[in-house]
């Protein structure tokens, strides 16, 4: 065996150019598999991470039809209070369609929403300056607002200066009572995580002229029993509306699951495409090995005349093919890892070659060597020593 390996290395080294060209197919194939799979999964991880930061324990409820039956905020709070084992927090979620004004300028990217005092806890944010929205604010419809760090800095220069100031949303003026701690350490940007205004949901509802609140965010105590939480919620809503077309319940974790399965599919697909190039590389290996057998017919004849059995000749050629493709595979893994790092940096995502991709592509390249080396090898082994000796 060891001898066969030495012989294979010698033969590969003896035909440097040819061996390199054979390997090239495998190198490109393996590198492509690794780069594609790793970069895609790296990119997707980034997406998932940003998605997960939105809160995997959140369930959003949307009521689309308020005409026939109504669901009041009190009903929802009561429902959540009845199931303290399942749910932790609830807040109405009211969008405000008026833009935020900064002098004469409009800050159209700023997200303006009405929430309850629980929203800070749902987001797991802390206050930077001042206070959060309070229960009393919501009940008394006080015209107060909590700003995001970016919004406060853009409007007033600093969180401290923003305190007590008035902001204008549409025709309404609200007093700033607090600023939320900066969330994005890297950059403050328009429309980013730090660009928002929260106001009491009751105020927001009034500004939007909508009597009923149609959207809620509820958080679960644990992410393990999301299904039970959504089921209970749906049962409750069905009892109210008697029609499951009137509302939607969406758990973020479901979205995450969905996203994950999409990612898996995408990786598999791209891996498959790269896999095809590996297959083509395999055919290249077979081709070269067939040429090699033909070229070395005489050598095979001599070896057989001196007593080499079929299995020995077979082994020689299979090992040579396997070694060629393994070396190609290893070079491909190195190039693929380097390429993944470089592309990851260029794209600004953290992409690392996954162990699975490396293992798979290396396995495939060795497998290709064995598989496609087998046919030429068995042809070599079957050569008649006399015919082989006579060939020039």
């Amino acid at each position: 065996m060891l001898q066969s390996f030495k012989m294979a290395l010698k033969s590969i080294w003896g035909n440097k150019m040819r061996s390199f060209l054979t390997m090239l197919g495998i190198i490109i194939g393996v590198a492509a598999v690794i780069i594609l799979v790793s970069v895609v999964s790296g990119y997707m991880n980034t997406v998932v991470e940003s998605f997960a930061s939105m809160g995997v324990n959140q369930i959003s409820v949307n009521v689309n039809n308020m005409q026939s039956r109504s669901l009041s905020v009190e009903d929802m709070y009561e429902f959540v209070d009845e199931h303290p084992d399942l749910y932790e927090r609830i807040t109405p979620n009211v969008s405000v369609s008026y833009p935020l004004k900064n002098g004469n300028e409009t800050m159209s990217s700023t997200s303006i929403k009405g929430y309850s005092e629980d929203y800070l806890g749902i987001k797991e944010y802390e206050m930077d300056t001042g206070r959060n929205l309070s229960y009393a604010d919501c009940m008394a419809e006080k015209r107060v607002a909590v700003l995001g760090y970016y919004t406060a800095v853009t409007l007033f220069g600093s969180p401290e200066e923003a305190m007590g100031q008035k902001i204008k949303i549409g025709a309404n003026s609200l007093k700033v009572v607090g600023i939320v701690e900066r969330q994005d350490e890297d950059e403050l940007e328009e429309g980013g995580t730090d660009d928002f205004v929260w106001l009491p949901y009751s105020v927001a509802a009034k500004m939007s002229r909508s009597a009923n609140i149609s959207s809620y965010i509820i958080t679960t105590r644990s992410t393990d029993n999301t299904d039970e939480c959504t089921d209970t919620l749906e049962t409750f809503l069905y009892e109210v509306f008697k029609n499951d077309d009137f509302y939607t319940v969406m758990a973020n974790s479901e979205l995450l699951d969905e996203l994950n399965s999409q990612i898996a599919m995408m990786s598999t697909m791209l891996g498959g495409i790269a896999g095809i190039s590996l297959l083509v590389a395999g055919v290249g290996v077979m081709n070269i090995m067939l040429v090699s057998v033909t070229e070395r017919t005489r050598e095979i004849g001599i070896r057989k005349a001196l007593g080499a059995k079929k299995s020995v000749i077979m082994q020689q050629f299979v090992i040579e093919a396997a070694v060629t493709s393994s070396i190609g595979g290893i070079i491909g893994i190195l190039l693929g890892s380097l390429g993944t790092g470089a592309i990851g940096t260029a794209m600004g995502i953290s992409a690392a070659p996954s162990f699975g991709a490396v293992l798979l592509s290396f396995g495939v390249s060795v497998g290709i060597g064995l598989l496609f080396g087998y046919m030429p090898a068995s042809r070599a082994a079957k050569l008649n020593p006399i015919d082989a000796l006579r060939s020039e």
Binding site: K304, A305, L306, G307, K310, S311, V312, L389
Partner: protein
Amino acid sequence: MIKLPFLKGKEEEAYGNQDPGAPLIELRDIYKIYYMGDEEVHANDGISLKIWRGEFVAIVGKSGSGKSTLMNIIGALDTPTEGEYILGGIDTSEMTDDELAEIRNKMIGFIFQQYNLLPKLNILENVELPLQYAGLGPAERKKKAMESLERVGLQNKWKNMPSQLSGGQQQRVSIARALAGDPSLILADEPTGALDSKTSKEVLNFLKKLNDEGNTIVMITHDPSIAMNSKRVVRIMDGKIMFDGDVKEYAAKL
């Protein structure tokens, strides 16, 4: 005695009739028939021949006489269509390829006209090749191969590649390779075919010396003058033995 693994359990049967008086090679009514379209070509047409240990036999014949076919059968490179070939008491007529490979490896040392050295291996590795196929370990292989190279006087060139040697030297390497495995039979196919007359003489003298040391040699040649170096001549024509006798007898007939 040579050990052949595939004979496991049947050694007695195989070696049973191997008394010292029995021939090393026994060909019993050998036919080798090729089919060219509808036509049958009898390359060997009923050849019977016995060769004893220690003989130096030259098989002579023109090209197309069937001597190469005969050599292939004696060398266990091919099996006869009909008839039996018994080598060292073992019937090889019905053997599989792998069994024949083992017979070639353990019992026959080949010397070819074109030397047939592997160009990418050095001299030592070339001589080691049959020993490697016989399953010897690296140390033993090297020792035996060096001894063999010493016998042909090329021990100092063991690192060289075949292409760095002259034709005569290359043929000596191939003789060393043939001797390395201590074969029962040395089979030389036109051993001087590619050499000038001076080196031819050296090679022939070397074969004579090997024969004097007790080795059995069968040499195939088309050249009657080369055959004169042997002790016994078998002349083949049209697939049949036309003459089989002492070299002096053969010389007298020329």
